[in-house]
Symmetry: C2
Subunit: 376 residues, 2 copies
């Protein structure tokens, strides 16, 4: 860790980077996966477990936290780290994405967005300045600019308008954030699936003196190929000496391919959400524990895993828990899934250091393709 | 632990006993509280946590397990201990109580009970012999006789008929259980709220050579006073050298008062169920975390507790988790509640050893009566 926010690239392998973000609350080994702690909790997990899996940083959702329990309340209680008992780095999003996806009656104007809470119908105003203020109240280590995510498909004019608005909001967020050496505010590249708009957004943000860059507006249903094309066009347009964060992504395969294009940070609800729906991520691919084939299977998900959830519980037991709607089913599968994601990230980091990311990626993909254990 | 099922009374204090049940899978310190592991899981808990709280034995529900995942399946998977990863003693109920409370279309005949599963509507036949067979398939260490629990209030004739039937079923269960030195089959005293029927049931069971006795049909809504009167009439009619188990009881106060009347074992869903509904048991009484008074309270539930859930998380955070319906709320409060129950049992055992149960009970009750911390 360090007193000031710093990013160092330790090794490169093609476009992939093995790096390190240092902050007063800790060091983040990149490429990094950030478990999603929406409302101050990584769902169905104890923070000790999240940490023990090798998580250096988690994500908190500004939208959820501002509605409940409220940013001012979290601040009075000592900030999100104390509140949620996670003393390590936290990145918060700006709230913009959830305003677009969850809130009702949202109205975007130059000054900001007005919306109605999905929890209790209360009306809120969110400006770039207020988003940064909230993230400051939460005491977030990496704060995100407020941006406007348009729903795709959308007309090019509409995508362009939102992208340009997001650039102006980036400037306002930067000003609102000011000079905080131990923390960072990241800008967000927008532009939908239009490569020229993406390039315009990336180059405009690159001229701003900010500490990191996100690629936003992806993982919203577009084909993986589209996402990768956008990364191919965007990453080279971003400063090489700043971390790059691909928001809301993704599957293990998305992560492998995005790292190869120069992405350093990821967050995604998939491992946690899938864990609550009976799905396990493993080195042999995705396993649906609801499937009756597991009902009599005494084998664990992965006998070679370091994670107790993967190694010590039979598929038959996991199947039973999932079918019965038992909390322990979600607890164990979420644990397994985050363990798998973090082991994948460790594997990726080691492969970059060894200069063999593409070979290792092929091996990992082969193992996924071979599929799960044959039924007994 | 010992090769054969044994019960020793180590100390007495009035009618209260400090004892020890030894079995091949472990030793149970009595008075004991058995966390309820309905469907092969103590809801929202890892078994490691359950054990670490000082639980020597847990309870499994035959009714739930026979329906899902099925007793034969559990047997094929190595028994309930392997299945649920609890290598220590397990007591299973007979299924009779849940048949009466959960199943549809139940019909009781001399030979047994026919019922329809609440899970999938399938029709099952449960005889005393089948109940013991199922408990054997689960590899349960302490098995309960099948009994008929009538819903109260009921006519005396009906209560008597069910009690006499339960006595005949006790004989059949004993015969079906046979000679299993490392395990036990307990009989169940029935008789509703009629002290003479209870006395008849207890004395008839006492003449049978069985290894333990339960008091059933209580904790079904009757006043505590009624329950204690029944214990006053029943416990002295049971053999002093056998463990006595009060089924489905109860509140911490029920437990204190029942131990004082000679009860050695308890099970109850209260700590686990309350934990999923935002209620915390503490040495200062019951605390409702849903209450808005906790929203800004940085204090833990109990700063002196050995349990991290009670000691390390703010009430504000717990309130937030409960209000948001987060799994971690149920996980932490269940953990807190079982910790409180097990610490109460340890306290009770120490007080009996010291010959000061009534004094200690009064101190504990005083602390409950003083109530929770004043609001900030």
């Amino acid at each position: 860790m360090s007193e000031t926010f710093t990013f160092r690239v330790l090794a490169e392998d093609g476009a992939a980077r093995r790096g390190e973000i240092s902050m007063p609350r800790g060091t983040v080994r990149t490429p990094a996966f950030m478990p999603v702690g929406t409302g101050g909790t990584v769902k169905a997990m104890y923070m000790d477990q999240v940490r023990a899996l090798g998580s250096d940083i988690i994500l908190g959702n500004t939208y959820h936290l501002m509605l409940r329990p409220g940013a001012e309340r979290v601040a009075r209680l000592g900030g999100l780290h104390d509140f949620a008992r996670w003393p390590y780095p936290i990145l918060t999003d700006s709230g913009g994405f959830q305003v677009m996806s969850l809130a009702a009656l949202r109205k975007v104007r130059e000054k900001g967005v007005t919306f109605r809470s999905h929890v209790d119908g209360q009306v809120f105003e969110m400006s770039p300045e207020r988003s940064i203020e909230i993230q400051g109240l939460l005491d977030s280590d990496i704060q995100m600019q407020l941006d406007e995510c348009v729903r795709l498909p959308a007309a090019r004019d509409e995508v362009e308008r939102a992208m340009e608005l997001s650039l102006r909001w980036a400037e306002r967020c930067k000003a609102a954030f000011g000079d905080q050496p131990g923390k960072a505010m990241f800008g967000i590249v927008q532009g939908g699936v239009d490569l020229r708009l993406r390039a315009r957004s990336a180059s405009a943000l690159s001229t701003m003196d900010i500490k990191g860059y996100a690629v936003g507006g992806l993982a919203v249903g577009e084909p993986q190929e589209t996402m990768l094309e956008i990364l191919d066009a965007t990453c080279p347009a971003l400063p090489a000496n700043k971390p790059r964060y691909l928001m809301g992504v993704g599957t293990p395969d998305d992560i492998l391919k995005s790292v190869a294009r120069g992405i350093d940070m990821f967050d995604c609800v998939m491992p946690t959400r899938a864990g609550r729906h009976g799905l396990a991520y493993t080195r042999r691919g995705k396993v649906n524990l609801k499937n009756a084939r597991h009902a009599d299977d005494p084998r664990p998900l992965d006998e070679e895993s370091d994670c107790a959830a993967a190694r010590d519980y039979s598929r038959a037991y996991l199947h039973h828990l999932v079918k019965s709607g038992e909390a322990l089913g979600a607890m164990l599968l979420t644990w397994n899934n985050l363990a798998y994601y973090q082991s994948l990230m460790a594997d990726i980091r080691a492969a970059i250091e060894a200069g063999r990311l593409s070979e290792r990626a092929a091996e990992i993909q082969d193992e996924w393709a071979r599929g799960d254990l044959p039924a007994l």
